[in-house]
Amino acid sequence: MAWSFTGLGSRAEVSQQSDPSALPPVDDRLYGHYRAAAGGFDELMQPDGGLRPHWRSFMARLSARSDAELAQAWSATARMLRDNGVTHNVHGDPTGQDRPWRLDPVPLLIDGAEWRQLEQGLIQRARLFNAILSDLYGPQQLLTGGQLPAALVFGSPQFLRPLHGVPVPGQVRLHFIAIDLARRPDGSWQVISDRTHAPIGAGYALETRVVMGRVLPDLFRDCRVERLAGFFQRFSDSLLALLHHAEPRMVMLSPGPAAETYFEHAYLARYLGMPLVEPGDLTVRDRRVFLKTMTGLQPIQLIWRQMHSEACDPLELQSATAQGVPGLVQAVRSGNVVVVNALGSGLVEGDAIMPFLPSLCQQTLGEALLLPEAATWWCGEPAARRFVLANLDRLVLRPTFAPRSILRRDRGPILPARLSAAERAALCARLNTHGEHYVAQEPLLPSSAPCWTDGRLVPRPVVLRAYIAADGQGYQVMPGGLARTLGDGDAPLLLMRQGEASKDAWVLTAGPVSSFSRLAQAEQPAAPRRSGQDLASRAADNLYWLGRYAERSDGAVRLLRSLLLRVTGEVNDDDPVVRATLLQLMVALGHLDKGLARRLTQGGAAAFPGELGRVLFEADAPNGLAPLLGHLRRTASLVRERLSSDAWTCLQALQAQVEAERARPRREVGDALQLLNDLIRLLAALSGMQMEHMTRNLGWRLLDMGRRVERARHLARLMAALVRAGASEAAHLQLLLELADSTMTYRTRYLNEPRPLLAVDLLLVDNSNPRGLSFQLDRLAEHLAALPRPAEQAGLSAEQRVLARLHGKIELADLAKLCEPAGRRPKRDALPVLMAELEAELGVLSDTLAQAYFSHAQPLRKAGPHWGGGAD
């Protein structure tokens, strides 16, 4: 496993001491209208209207920039986030689209000294929750001692009984948690909620920081912002230290691309150098967890879980479906794998435990609790229930076991003050009979912080998510975190709404910024590694199809371009026969609707632009470009962690181009042609990146094999359709060479009108032509020879045998005979037959590959239950 830290870590992080006297005067242009709400705390401004000291340097530097400079920086921010594909897939969004992550460009600044204090409280809280979990999944003395009501454990869906009594290494059940904070009107911090399950957002925080560092590099440097890289390095070192294993393997387990925060899983996995896997990639045998790879089963020692505990093992954790990793709990029980955070760690999430934390802290740690939380009452206790009933109107109620997060929509808050008399009576009755289902809290007015709105700073309520991670000895806090601004609304509701945008949080330090150091690693002997030999079978499958879709898109775009070129008259001899052949071919290849092709044939040149425009741009045209590019992008998103950010940007641009073009009110044929040329360029760039920038590992081979198979199939179809005798022979061959991107090669060689024999030789036999069929087969042969296979296998693999047949068919082909016109008929029979055979063999090759390397794709099922019986 490679421990490379891309992004933050690789950049030299040297702090520059800036001279305070060089500070430009603060111009109040940006905040002249800034008025914090009365009664609240404002992050930027003191009650007297002056800037808080730790904001002065930042504000001075910000206001030294012109409005135009700022506007440019902010639009760069938005563009970078979009280009990097930072998305948040919102379920319930009817269009199923990934929503871009919204970033407010003005960071939340936190004074270093204040942060140090906050850190103590956060670390204590992590230790406290870990201690509580250790007890609840162990002796449960907190229950027998009466420190925590047993109902909060036994009634919780997060108390996973199969994990009770299962030891964890070093007594650490929590390795990475988040705590949501808000600042009270008096300026002190308080906890809103604790996320101990599998907290989200750290990857977004990281990406946000990278973007901010690029957009405001000098500001970022001059303000002496504490860096994040060390935090992640220490965390991953601490995970390695848990394993005591010579060659530890860690994976990040994600539910897959449908997950709301899949972007972040892919991002963090790449950042930490962990393979990103889905449940189906893992298998438990002999009580050990393995990753299914192309080279066989690879043992896994640690899983960083980004999914719900309950969904992790369908055998023991009572999930309704069969999804997950059956046997995982048994592997954990046997001590063969560490899950981070430990399965069942969500038990201590939620507001209901809050009122008990001060005494739990005394009991388990022997310390006073440092960080306060909002005043909270769990209505399962008679005294709390009485208080809540007496003060109903000024409280907010929530279900006991519905944890809250500043990053998600709040589920089911109840505002008694807004209920009708009948609803209120029902609530009171329910509180009396089933108070244990409710938690009541005092609403909170969080502090406001400056947000960029319409060219100036405006105060908006802000909350902060802090991340706390294991560091080997205990816990450490990410210096910064993810701030969220809340939308406009009335004060008591603020904390119940989804945040409007996120913000970077900068912890400012007075001293030098600790630059990232890898000294700790230098003590270990350096052992070079080759990455990518443990490619998960699922990823292999997806990469192969990514190659195929990329090539298929290229083929489709070239066909469309050829068609348009003939329509616009850019090809001199627009032969109606050739055009008809082209339309037929496009129908046969599924790139054109039959009816449309007929109308285009009948309508002549005049009908082309409008009708074709539809095919090109409409999102719902079944044979159009949009679905094809959609396939490409979706497949790419499945292996996103393996693509470079440049490649991803290229893919994003492909779709953006088509969407931009679709949005144009009026379009000319020329615009469409321009778009097709752009798409061909982008696809070529993608392919170039693949050739020049990808490590030559199995992943690259699979991607390239997909391309080669697709290109060879496409060529076979083209040749079968376009090598035909008759009056239009030369024009057809010209089109063939154009579509096969071999026009220039042909011209430089032969300087004459295309002739069948020569064209077929160039595209079928000549293995020096990178667009020719033989060339594709040669590359495939190289790849197949390099694929892993069972040691005991002698001779050629099944795939290699298919390829040998393909090679043989071409080598044995008699070109002269193939290109000889068959009587007076315009078609050459022998050639289409051969091409059909080649195409069929390529299909067999693809299937054989899938069987040998991707066959993991079988679904898991639950074996039939015992239901019924015991008749009376």
Partner: protein, 292 residues
């Protein structure tokens, strides 16, 4: 009473299964009223991993992994077991049900926590207010717990029709309440939902029932079945089993396999398979009384 129980489960798969994981709750749990003299488990094909353990509720379990390709899996358990239950306590001697609920909630000793944990809804017993409403007519103020529970058991027997085709493992208990139909697991879950809504601790029991051939007929081998009922905690009287399917308090004809919050905790065989396609399950249970 001494029984020899044979429980054979056969899975037939359309496509080969590459890998399967199973968790078995098939070894009778030793407890005060029953003693397992012998229990053997035969699995074919032989599992690569087969590990005996004990679950959170103290039930014996077997965890197994079959790692060889197979189209058919047989799990066969045979055991010899002795059941001697004391006669049920007098229903009218139990304390008022409200007092019982309060007593359980107010005691955090280890013993009582182990009882208290069964007062909470679990995945198969979440029926909410509907279950409480169904239970209430039997639980009149101050009524002795067991008397009320005994009546509730009878009402379920009267109000509900035993119907193998009405429900399956995915039918929620509030749906059962609406349909007024179901099988033994459904009725056990329903009564659990009712009792827990009232704050009373009750657990699910999985096991077997001795059956009798129809008059004049031979005893049919393998025609018996798995059974499910529940057990209610009555302060001072302990756990009292109740069988709503048959409207009785189990005696020596009910053999206990395991108990938990609901079916999900103690399903006789839970299995997750890779591959397999469509499959059929055949279960043959034979409860043979042995001469003492």
């Amino acid at each position: 009473m001494i029984y020899e129980v044979s429980h054979r489960t056969r899975y037939a798969y359309r496509d080969p299964v590459a890998l399967s994981h199973h968790l078995l709750h098939l070894a009778p749990r030793p407890c005060a009223h029953q003693q397992c003299r012998r229990s053997t488990l035969i699995v074919d094909p032989a599992p690569a991993v087969s590990e005996a353990g004990t679950d959170y509720f103290g039930n014996p379990t077997t965890f197994m992994i079959v790692q060889q390709r197979h189209r058919e899996l047989q799990v066969h358990v045979r055991c010899e077991i002795e059941v001697r239950r004391p006669p049920p306590p007098a229903a009218e001697a139990s304390i008022p049900w409200e007092e019982a609920a309060a007593l359980v909630a107010g005691d955090c000793s280890r013993t009582m926590l182990d009882v208290y944990q069964f007062t909470f809804d679990s995945p198969f017993t979440s029926a909410g207010e509907a279950a409480a409403a169904y239970a209430r007519p039997s639980f009149t103020p101050g009524r002795p717990l067991l008397e009320a529970a005994r009546e509730l058991t009878s009402r379920i027997r009267q109000d509900f029709i035993y119907d193998q085709s009405a429900t399956d493992v995915a039918t929620p208990v509030d749906e059962v309440l609406r349909l007024r139909r179901g099988v033994c697991q459904d009725f056990a879950h329903l009564e659990l939902a009712c009792l827990r809504q009232l704050g009373l601790p009750a657990r699910y029991v999985s096991g077997y029932l001795r059956t009798y051939p129809a008059p004049g007929k031979e005893r049919l081998v393998g025609a018996d079945a798995s059974h499910a009922w529940l057990s209610l905690w009555s302060p001072g009287q302990g756990w009292i089993d109740l069988d709503p399917t048959n409207d009785l308090i189990p005696g020596d004809e009910h053999i206990t396999l395991a108990w938990g919050r609901d079916y999900g905790d103690v399903s006789p065989i839970t299995g997750v398979i890779l591959g397999g396609g469509e499959h059929k399950v055949e279960v043959a249970v034979d409860v043979l009384p042995l001469p003492a």
